[in-house]
Symmetry: C2
Subunit: 290 residues, 2 copies
């Protein structure tokens, strides 16, 4: 059984990106530039954005953080987006979600120029990815496909069970895994209404769990030799930890891991890959604009 080390893989990819950026700078080019828009003071969002800024530094990117109070109006935020769209110095940007309830997230997402939408949430990018055209692919699915490839896990023709049909993981993951230039896999998407969910999992060569239910995937749902990718990160109370909680994946790791040929841990599996893929998308946006 192999542990798929997302932390190490992400570090390696960031080093590769940094190396490429140093080459660009040495040749007289400018550094890629990512901007992040943060509204309000949500603890999770603060951490994510901070880590994105740190990742930019690690990759040799320029980064700009635009902070606003959660009293910002939708119109004002749309103006910010328009400004970033027009700003020649910005290669790509993200608006950290969630946004306050008085702001229409979809409207903001669709206001981002698709060429600068490094989160890959704009319908144009979702659609282009779906039909197999070059597009920004959202970070989590791209990170998972990258992990599978870097660990030389065969996906072509394999049965992949995806648990969850969210817009940011399950659905784009399915798109990516089914297409020839992606995983080329036989994809089954499972969700809360699926009959035979456990049986479908048991028959899968690769399970990608993104259902947001702690330790949902148990040993009886996993075929011996399967590859298990755990996207879940639920905070569960744990008095033994300094913060009083621990991150629990969607997989009952201790029971499932011995069965697997390979498995991602939580934390340290898929998580570290996502920010790293954002960096890769930013580099791609930079190159497309250059």
């Amino acid at each position: 059984m192999q542990i798929i080390d997302g932390k190490a893989t992400a570090a390696q990819i960031k080093a590769e990106i940094k190396n490429e950026v140093e080459g660009i700078l040495a040749a007289g080019g400018r550094a890629p530039h990512l901007a992040a828009v943060l509204v309000g003071h949500d603890g999770g969002s603060e951490t994510y954005v901070k880590n994105k800024v740190l990742a930019c530094e690690a990759c040799g990117f320029r980064s700009t953080l635009l902070r606003f109070e959660d009293t910002i109006t939708e119109a004002e935020l749309l103006d910010v987006v328009a400004g970033l769209n027009a700003d020649e110095a910005i290669d790509g940007f993200i608006v950290q979600l969630p946004l306050p309830a008085h702001i229409d997230e979809q409207k903001v997402t669709e206001a981002i120029l698709p060429e600068k939408d490094v989160d890959g949430f704009h319908p144009v990018n979702v659609g282009r990815m779906s039909i197999g055209l070059p597009a920004f692919v959202s970070a989590t699915p791209l990170g998972i496909l990258t992990l599978l490839r870097r660990y030389n896990i065969e996906t072509s023709g394999k049965k992949v069970a995806i648990l969850g049909r969210s817009n940011i993981v399950g659905k784009p993951m399915a798109s990516l895994m089914m297409q020839k230039q992606g995983g080329d896999s036989t994809v089954t998407v499972l969700h809360s209404h699926s009959a035979n969910l456990a049986e479908e999992c048991r028959r899968a060569d690769i399970i990608i769990a993104a259902i947001g239910r702690p330790a949902f995937v148990t040993a009886d749902m996993v075929k011996p030799g399967a590859v298990v990718i755990d996207v879940g990160t639920t905070r569960v109370p744990d008095a033994t930890r300094p913060k009083g909680f621990r991150l629990q994946g969607d997989v009952d790791f201790d029971a499932v891991a011995p069965l697997c040929s390979a498995i991602t841990p939580v934390p340290g599996g898929v998580g570290p890959m996502t920010i790293c893929m954002l960096m890769l998308n930013t580099l791609q946006a930079y190159k497309q604009r250059a």
Copy 2:
């Protein structure tokens, strides 16, 4: 075993549309208006476009057919598209595919205003549909979901095997069937590289065959009581027919039908629904503009 009669269902839906249009006209409104662009003289395209114009008449729509020789340049065709985008009198339009080799089909498709893209091929519509937002859904997947609904076939939680991963049928069909507001099904997408294709089919409650291989789905691949939807329409030589060929679906109908709880024939199943769904999309485009 029930034959799912696409021809009768399509006729009924067209009558419903006509009824609605008559109501609009009686209230002093104008008729919905679909334009079709036809380049060259491909026999299949000529027939499709002719049938679309006839369907407009049946629904009480205005229709405009714009014909061009296959010597039209890409720039000229893009000008035509721009003109239709700007034309206030046109609610929706299609550019009949395929286009001559010197024209980039994707470029033309992406030039169509998404609000007028009643074929649902623009990435914005593909993406919006994928994430569950209101969008024009392409005709074949929408026609199949409509048939399932009109025949009261339960899809929620059911295992749906989709054979084929094309951009115009397999992939959007998968999107539509997996989401809660769509089929709410457990979707598996199968293709030429799938291991265990027959077994996956045998376990499916609903099989949607869109693989383009005549009589590919045989009796041993179908679970007794399954619902089988046949999207295939391959012309196979048949000396007993006046035209020297017949339309053959992807399903070995004679052997499979006795096993099914319901099945679509070819012709007369999915085929007639597609043009009818184009009419429905045009009506929707009209309403959104009104």
